[in-house]
Amino acid sequence: MRYSTRLRIGPVGFRVGSDWRAPIEQLDRLYRDYPRPDDGIADFNVRLFAARPWRRFVRPAVMIGGDYTIPDALPLPLNLGLLAAEMGMNLQMALAQRRYLLLHASAVERDGKALVMTGVSGAGKSTLATLLMARGWRFMGDEFALLDPETGLIHGFPRLVSLKNESVGVVERLMPDARFGPLLPGTPKGDIRHVVPDARAIAAMDAPAKPALILFPRFGFASEDRPVLPSEIFVRLTQASTNYVAMAERGFDALTALVQSVPARAIDYPDTEAAVALVERLWGELA
């Protein structure tokens, strides 16, 4: 491809190629402190390409391709090229990752132990993980937590944090010195702005952590927490895992071990301060 870059996020190496310069420049700027893939060999390829040659120039529209594709995916306008690259990397993970069981969750670490937060889009996974990072937790990722079937440990996947809508302003005020990507307005999920995880998150991205607490956050309700039965954790995590079926018995064994050994709570929170207080209390009691 005309333009390309390589980068590694946690244990996964990517090569991203593009028909346009801009998305690659943005990736290089935001991922400049990340390592390259081990031995220079990428696990997955992402391609950002024009559907027709003239669409490189005329109303440029970015198709997302790579080793694995979704046939009917709609292209994104070029000003959302960074989002297309991020979606492309997520897509390869979602469709092709076989080494780790993918948990659709954010994760942070403290004292070698991981807090895993999972829930539907908008529940506050990314925002909570970012708030906790700003308070000294090590950020492990806001989209995928990688469960290693061999060890039961969580590996981080600390790609750029994808902030959406109200959380953009919250994090801009909280971390004014952080490196932000461009504001991407009008995406299918509303306004998105990426922020680079802090230096510690990047430096320690290869260190796995023992899962110690699973939270199911829900934004917009009075502070409350309730226990979650292992069978409910299992069902919710399998529903949110794109490679559970492909992982077959290794996935089953890894997940049954996780839900039997790690406490879980569903938490409701009305605002970010309440959320952090709730997380700290539960972490102190259970982790």
Binding site: L229, Y244, V245, E249, T256
Partner: protein, 95 residues
């Protein structure tokens, strides 16, 4: 014979083909032959427990269940229906 017919005989699938993990009110069963995960509640684990490698008729299985569990209202037709459901997803053998 049609499904639910109590003249069917039922056997258990070879136990090494299943991974059974009781969690709480629910039990997880991984079916190695299909790669499917089943999340089941009582009486499925109990039924799998009383099935034998030798096919048995419904009356025998009902009697065996009664020895192990308090059935309250033993119902052979309901048992046959449950066993058929298990056989349909590969967790029991219908003979």
């Amino acid at each position: 014979m049609t499904k639910g017919d109590q003249r069917y005989r039922y056997a258990r699938v070879p136990l090494p083909t299943l991974r059974i993990v009781p969690l709480d009110a629910m039990t997880l069963i991984y079916h190695r032959a299909s790669g499917q995960t089943h999340v089941v509640a009582s009486p499925v684990p109990e039924l799998i427990e009383v099935l034998d490698e030798m096919p048995c008729d419904v009356a025998t299985l009902l009697a065996r269940l009664g020895e192990h569990f308090d059935l309250g209202d033993p119902d052979a037709a309901a048992l046959a229906a449950r066993l058929d459901e298990l056989a349909d997803v590969g967790l029991a053998v219908r003979a």
